[in-house]
């Protein structure tokens, strides 16, 4: 008797009818998903579609309201992160859950049984244990560095290294590359391919279509907490996915009309801080000036220096012809500067406060008379902001903490757009924002430029810079490596200048 064809083995993980009800919001309404061993499975959907919620349920960070989970065909219960860890499920959270005051090594090894002896942590083994994982993710820092001293991008790598160190069978990457540069992403993809070859499954949440098509095998689309479809990556295309996600097409790729003028709003001469040297450039009214460079190239530092957050060691700033030298953000704001920081959770939002109060925080003066707030004005301002950014929140009174990542980003952006500063520094303003909402934000940036503001835009996505900017300043190890016209530049040329070692490219304008 011939053996019957072996029944296909059960998938690594199967979720059935997952339902999640938060206070007033239904984040998931009956989602089914199947993850096979050794596949990279993308999770796609608009901001607030429920991607993070799904991941968090798998990782035991929040309990499902209803539904079942099976691993290898056996039903499991995941009530807290320890349960998930035992099942071999690890997650890199969108809002990282690392400890800023511990070292990189301690963050990675925390609660790892291999390093504990009773209550004693084997410090001697700590660094040796971490090194291979740090090397794999390509993190170029000492494992004894305090985590809080790292850039957000590098913090993401630490979280990834930690997930790897737990020898998981399923790793959920929730927008884990949102602050990584191209080079680090490429390296991460090599790691993911190795994992895939070893039979580890990955769930890959991202709003970046190109990444999804580069690395993923199958794609599940969610919309408004509901399951839409699971498709093979090879059998679909970005337009179809956007249609599935949003229900209609989004016009992408169009360059905004330039509003740049000839009047300089800001002149920076030989700006020097601990991280940048001799940076000089002019920013014009209505211009969008991109800042390109690797993590650590000093892109963000320029904004911090202008905004009084990093001590200026040398150089001069002229704004509208007058010399200024803001020493605190408050002084910088008075001088007409605005800064949307990169790390929205640590540097941007008051998580426990309402959406409305967060969005209005930088324009309290306009909403009050002699320090007494006018509720009418507060509500009107918040409504205008929510409409302009197409914010999706239960009400202006919900706490920002309960918003999805992309909507938190919009709230923070709204805070600064409302203020309408003369010079607006945007540090990765579309991090974690969905395809449609990105277009909205490009539109908002263009509107600010049209009103005559000078805008500086940092982005880890080169196409975004090429698309939104008039000119792009390329930084390499804290120095200006070039200043290029965005209409003629290409991603390759930018990358070449950003990574060229040795003498900065003189005359490469």
């Amino acid at each position: 008797m011939t053996a019957p064809t072996a029944p296909s083995p059960p998938p690594l993980l199967r979720a059935r009818n997952l339902l999640k009800q938060y206070d007033g919001v239904r984040a998931l309404r009956g989602v089914d998903i199947e993850i096979r061993a050794g596949e990279v499975h993308a999770l796609l959907g608009e901001n607030g579609a429920g991607k993070s919620t799904l991941g968090k349920i798998l990782a035991g960070a929040v309990p499902a309201t209803a539904g079942t989970l099976e691993v290898d065909g056996r039903e499991i219960r995941v009530r807290h992160p320890g349960d998930a860890q035992r099942q071999g499920i690890a997650m890199i959270f969108q809002e990282l859950d690392l400890f800023p005051n511990l070292t990189v090594a301690e963050n990675i090894a925390l609660r790892n049984p291999a390093l504990a002896e009773g209550f004693r942590v084997r410090r001697d083994r700590l660094h040796a244990f971490c090194r291979p994982f740090l090397e794999r993710v390509g993190l170029p820092v000492d494992s004894a560095t305090r985590l809080g001293d790292l850039h957000l991008g590098h913090q993401q790598l630490v979280a990834i290294a930690r997930a790897l160190s737990r020898s998981a069978r399923l790793i959920v990457f929730d927008e884990a590359t949102s602050a990584l540069t191209e080079e680090l992403v490429a390296n991460l993809f090599r790691v993911i391919r190795d994992l895939r070859a070893a039979g580890v499954a990955c769930i890959y949440v991202s709003h970046k279509m190109d990444e999804i098509f580069r690395i993923c095998d199958r794609i599940t689309v969610l919309r408004d907490g509901g399951f839409v479809a699971t498709v093979d990556a090879a059998a679909t295309n970005p337009d179809e996915l956007v249609r599935l996600m949003i229900g209609h097409e989004v016009n992408t790729g169009q360059r905004a009309r330039s509003h740049a003028t000839e009047t300089a709003v800001l002149e920076v001469a030989n700006l020097t801080t601990t991280l940048v040297r001799d940076v000089s450039f002019k920013l014009h009214r209505g211009e969008v000036l991109g800042l390109a460079g690797l993590v650590g190239s000093g892109r963000g530092e320029i904004g911090r220096a202008l905004f009084g957050l990093a001590p200026v060691l040398g150089g001069r700033l002229h704004k509208g012809g007058r010399e200024v030298r803001p020493r605190t953000p408050r002084a910088a704001m008075a001088a007409g500067f605005g800064l949307v920081p990169r790390d929205r959770r640590r540097e941007g939002l008051m998580m426990g406060m309402r959406v409305r109060d967060n969005a209005n925080l930088a324009i309290m003066g306009r909403l009050s008379v002699a320090g007494v707030l006018r509720p009418g004005r507060e509500a009107a301002a918040a409504d205008r902001m929510a409409t302009a950014t197409r914010l999706k929140a239960g009400s202006p009174h919900t706490a920002v903490r309960t918003l999805s990542g992309g909507n938190q980003q919009k709230t923070l952006l709204g805070r600064w757009l409302q203020r309408e500063p003369d010079v607006l520094f945007l540090d990765d303003p579309t991090r974690g924002v969905d395809v449609g909402a990105k277009e909205d934000i490009y539109q908002l940036i263009a509107e600010q430029a049209a009103r005559g503001a000078g805008i500086m835009l940092v982005s880890s996505e080169l196409p975004e810079l090429l698309r939104c900017c008039d000119r792009i300043l390329v930084l390499n190890q804290g120095r200006v490596a070039g200043l290029v016209d965005a209409r003629t530049a290409t991603a390759e040329s930018l990358l070449r200048q950003a990574t060229a070692s040795g003498a900065p490219g003189e005359g490469s304008l």
Binding site: D23, G24, F307, L309, T328, P329, R330, A332, M333, L339, P341, R346, E347, G348, L349, M350, M351, G352, M353, D357, L361, A362, M364, G365, L367, S368, G371, V372, L373, P375, S395, H397, R415
Partner: protein, 321 residues
């Protein structure tokens, strides 16, 4: 309506606890031997309860703001004592008029608060340390100003007697507290300052990035708390007829307990005045009923400890949701 209930769920919960404790107190209260009704519910007892609670509750209003910014003020008990001494000195020794004496005592409290605020804002040393130091130092100042002696007010002349009579009346004290509570609540809820207070405690780093006037906010909250501690000192002097340099010893702990019972998180950002008023009432009722039942002072302390822990555990449950 449902939305409203959800938004104020913490408050609704605190109110429920207050109601429960009130009912329990009524049930457990010893009876009046004539009418048979519970002593606890008699108007005289209830107003007395309020009066006794007033000084601590008043300081707790300011402490709520301090804690909302993520700070703490351990010096309020000493400031209270200092203000009581200053008021009594002015009335009894220097023979000042009532208004001048009161104003001076409150101002001294405010100055201590401003000093705390300035040190916290400028030195960037944790408020716990700064105010621990001033708790010790201010107590010493109070004792040295009056040579470690109580200053009696009953026999200290007309102005002093008139002061004691007015400022120890129940309606006056209770009315004053109610007015101040409404004022501070309005300050927190309806002003730019109030928003900044919460924002600072919720995320101090982001408060810097948003350009908030952090130093001014800190000066203001500690200054206000100092003023209120000064006022509480004046009230205490009036109620006890004396300026006692040891007034308000350990009061800072009672004040903090009231704020925490009211659901304000010690980590900053969460909580409010309504909760603190409820917290003060809960603490007041407990102390009152334990007194009525003749529970001895030491057992009262132990019970209080248990209740504080219970309240904080409940609060953490809420925060975790």
């Amino acid at each position: 309506m449902k939305e409203c209930l959800r938004r104020h769920r913490d408050l609704v919960q605190s109110l429920a606890v207050l109601g429960l404790i009130f009912s329990l107190a009524a049930v457990c209260s010893p009876r009046d031997w004539r009418t048979g009704g519970p002593l606890f519910l008699q108007a005289d007892n209830l107003t007395n309860l309020l009066r006794v609670t007033t000084p601590v509750a008043m300081v707790a209003l300011g402490m709520t703001l301090v804690i909302l910014t993520g700070g703490i003020d351990l010096s309020v008990g000493s400031t209270l004592g200092l203000a009581a001494v200053v008021a009594a000195l002015a009335l009894a020794k220097w023979r000042w008029g009532g208004a001048a004496a009161i104003a001076t005592a409150i101002t001294v409290g405010g100055l201590v608060g401003l000093l705390n605020g300035a040190l916290v804002a400028l030195l960037r040393v944790p408020p716990f340390i700064i105010t621990l130091a001033s708790m010790i130092g201010i107590r010493g100042l109070a004792r040295s100003w009056c040579n470690n002696e109580n200053i009696g007010l009953r026999t200290a002349g007309d102005a002093a007697v008139r002061f004691v009579d007015t400022w120890s009346q129940k309606p006056f004290m209770i009315g004053l507290f109610a007015g101040l509570a409404l004022l501070v609540a309005a300050l927190l809820r309806g002003t730019v300052f109030g928003r900044y207070v919460r924002a600072l405690g919720d995320n101090p780093t982001a408060a810097v990035y948003a350009g908030l006037p952090i130093k001014r906010v800190q000066l203001a909250v500690y200054g206000l708390t100092g003023l209120l501690a000064g006022l509480a000192g004046v009230l205490t002097a009036a109620r006890t007829n004396t300026g006692n340099p040891n007034d308000g010893i350990a009061a800072e702990l009672d004040v903090i307990a009231v704020v925490v019972m009211g659901g304000t998180a010690l980590t900053g950002g969460r909580g409010g005045i309504a909760g603190t008023v409820i917290g003060a009432l809960i603490v007041g009722i407990l102390a009152n009923i334990l007194g009525l039942r003749n529970v001895d002072a030491n057992s009262q302390l132990m019970l209080k400890a248990g209740i504080i822990v219970l309240a904080v555990v409940l609060q953490q449950r809420r925060a975790a949701r």
